[in-house]
Assembly symmetry: C2
Homo-oligomer: 439 residues x 2
């Protein structure tokens, strides 16, 4: 593991924050250097945004090719004052390694590279790597990159960038991600802020926004946007079985989140089904009018809500955006800043998933569990259109992804690397599916 | 008018902003000095907040006593960069006098004092003045001040602090003000901000707030808080007549506000009735979650709305607060920062109002119009519990009260002062009503 730890230490010290434009070239340079050290052909492919690092290691006689997807960009570290040790100084404490981006997803690339290093010339498959630099800002260039480089990226399966284990140490095997639509609803009213004494007669954009939002989702969590659920694919028997086997400690989660119950009072299988298979709409931010101390009798000229829509197969973000736009227009509310991507999943009973499961058993000596669809989102659809995708990694429930004091558990790195190594070996033995035509 | 203009110029240069605690003592000192110059006994009465300046001029043989209410505090001047001339430097431009507080309400006190000055020893009534320093922050000490000084304040009628004229130059006679309740609704959710991928299952305070607010007021403007309209007093015949005679240029107002239609599409008598006699709830501010650039997938731990409730007779702010608290609790939303006061009105056909109307005819040579209840709010209830109240002044439709470039029209000062002078004379001839027991 010393090679892996050494690489990870260097990688974590680079403040590669895509949202802030820092550390991009330094991260790319380290990756190219490292891939070449590992015997790969490596190059930097420019895109309309941050470049992608592409690397390839061919294995003479190998029939199978695995494409690995990771991203070298990480979330902004703010707020700095909540970090116990500095975000760009990897620090070991209580068996954990703290740094921004360590769990999402620098340690995962490190164990993938560590597995390659440990296999040396005994690599049983052809390997390709794509490490992009815009995942944390919505991967705006990824679709274009893949469209231009389909031949280069041809492979039998894709190993995605994320994964971890539950509170009991059981590793998860992730078969898909939800899609997402980010958007902002803007309600406009009078041409300037008015004294609220006229509010009995002058239309208020704050009320328009509130009424529009209230009609989007019922208090029990059901989305009431017309047609929203029309294309939601029903869970099949294999999905149901995965759901039943999926661990979810409700009481521990309630305590972690500081809540008394889940939305609509759901629990048990229904709760797991909601998390895994149900789409929803979240309000991320509300803003408008006076926000200072005390009171101000203003009728604001504008009110806004930032929100995200979590999409599941086979919802189409383009259709959902159109439905949202049409619905909001009835309230005079406009939809702006829309961006996002569709969901993607690989069947839980596919050969690649089975190889990941078997490799996890070997590496951890524990039965892994299958997550058919992550509650979170990622641009997997771009790769899923070309090949089956599966994901696993070195994360843990307390990783604080996207938050201060992000960490991995140091003891998790070795089995996570062994998982990758076993997967490369097992993948060589499985028969990959035919290439799918739809995500 | 030269005395009035000279006083007003000195008064406007004092930055007497109660919200910021500036210029309070300077304003008090100027007022005491001026009252004494005018032959009044003047003194400073301390309260739990900023002091009240009390002044009195007794007229031997006069049967009637008029109590004048004004405030020496003004709104904050911010934003400075929108002022064409500095807010604390009274500046004449295009026939208007610009300065913070000139319309609300320093010019109105100036013309009251100017009328006293011009009458000299021919004052036909006893006069009392109360000039408070907390009107712009909700008059928190006024009720206590009046309760402690009832004997001192005894009078037959009260002349309130505000008033002006419409686009056609017709002066208004104001018989009352709406009450107000300021409040903040706070929805709390998880113990910390969460990644929004859990939003399908974790209750969101932003949704709770939106659902709670949406149930408070319908899109057509009708307030749906249970019991809200129960105590609203119906307009009587005299009120109806005043409403019919009240000018309101709908097209000009729509243009001024930059709106296409009024709430619920009302117009004509219904619109005037709404503005004058209907209570409502206004959202002043919405806040919660991420408000920065771009998107952030956060489920915020808290969301808030600042709002104000405009009350009409005989709504009771204490009862409305209780109803709000009970209603919001159903959504797990808490009510905080509640303060305000009840509405107050004097009948439009009372003797004091008639004296104000007759005086306006004499001073302006135009027929005034009667506003039974101002859409705006003020602490008139404190005085109205003791005597009838009426209000008129030197304002105009473009005065920009509470906004940058506040102004009065210079040519309005002389007739406004003459209005006060005539009122003092006419008041001596009318028989005041018996003291009311309810506002």
């Amino acid at each position: 593991m010393s090679w892996t730890r050494h690489f990870l230490d260097r990688y974590l010290r680079i403040p590669s924050v895509s949202a802030q434009g820092t550390g991009m070239r330094e991260a790319v340079a380290l990756l190219v250097e490292t891939f070449r050290e590992l015997g790969c052909e490596a190059r930097v492919i420019e895109t309309s945004g941050n470049p992608v690092v592409f690397a390839e290691k061919k294995t003479p006689g190998a029939a199978k090719t695995l494409l690995v997807y990771n991203h070298y960009d990480v979330q902004p570290p703010e707020p700095f004052d909540e970090w116990i040790s500095p975000p760009w100084v990897p620090t070991e404490r209580d068996g954990k390694l703290f740094a921004r981006g360590v769990a999402d997803n620098k340690a995962n690339l490190a164990v993938r590279l560590g597995a390659l290093k440990s296999l040396g010339d005994r690599l049983p498959v052809n390997l390709k790597f794509t490490v992009e630099g815009e995942e944390e800002v919505g991967s705006p260039s990824l679709e274009g990159f893949v469209a231009k480089n389909r031949a280069l990226l041809a492979a039998d399966a894709c190993l995605w960038e994320t994964g971890g284990k539950d509170e009991q140490g059981r590793p998860d095997i992730i078969c898909g991600v939800k899609g997402i639509l980010h958007a902002e609803a803007v309600a406009k009213g009078p041409s300037r802020d008015l004294h609220s004494s006229v509010g009995v007669a002058v239309p208020s954009p704050a009320w328009s926004l509130v009424h529009a939002l209230a009609g989007l989702r019922a208090p029990d969590g059901v989305v009431t946007l017309p047609g929203f659920y029309d294309k939601v694919r029903r869970a099949d028997a294999a999905d149901r079985e995965a759901l039943r086997a999926m661990p979810y400690d409700e009481e521990a989660r309630k305590k972690l989140y500081g809540i008394k119950e889940f939305v609509g009072g759901v629990s048990g299988e229904d709760l797991k089904e909601a998390l895994v298979f149900k789409p929803t709409i979240n309000i991320n931010g509300l803003m408008g009018g006076y926000q200072g101390k005390g009171s101000k009798t203003v009728l604001p000229k504008e009110a806004r809500a930032k929100f995200d829509v979590r999409l599941v197969p086979d919802q189409d973000p383009v259709e959902v955006e159109a439905a949202l736009r049409k619905y909001l227009a009835m309230f005079g509310v406009e939809l702006v800043e829309v961006h996002g991507y569709p969901p993607a999943r690989t069947p839980v009973d596919s050969a690649v998933v089975k190889a990941a499961v078997e490799s996890a058993r070997e590496a951890y000596g524990k039965e892994p569990w299958i997550l058919p669809l992550m509650p979170a989102s990622g641009p997997m659809y771009v790769y899923r259109a070309l090949m089956p995708c599966v994901s696993f990694g070195a994360g843990w429930p307390g990783a604080n992804i996207h938050a201060p004091n992000e960490s991995v558990q140091v003891a998790d790195l070795a089995p996570a690397q062994e998982h990758v190594r076993r997967f490369l070996q097992n993948l060589a033995a499985v028969v990959p599916e035919a290439k799918p035509t739809a995500p």
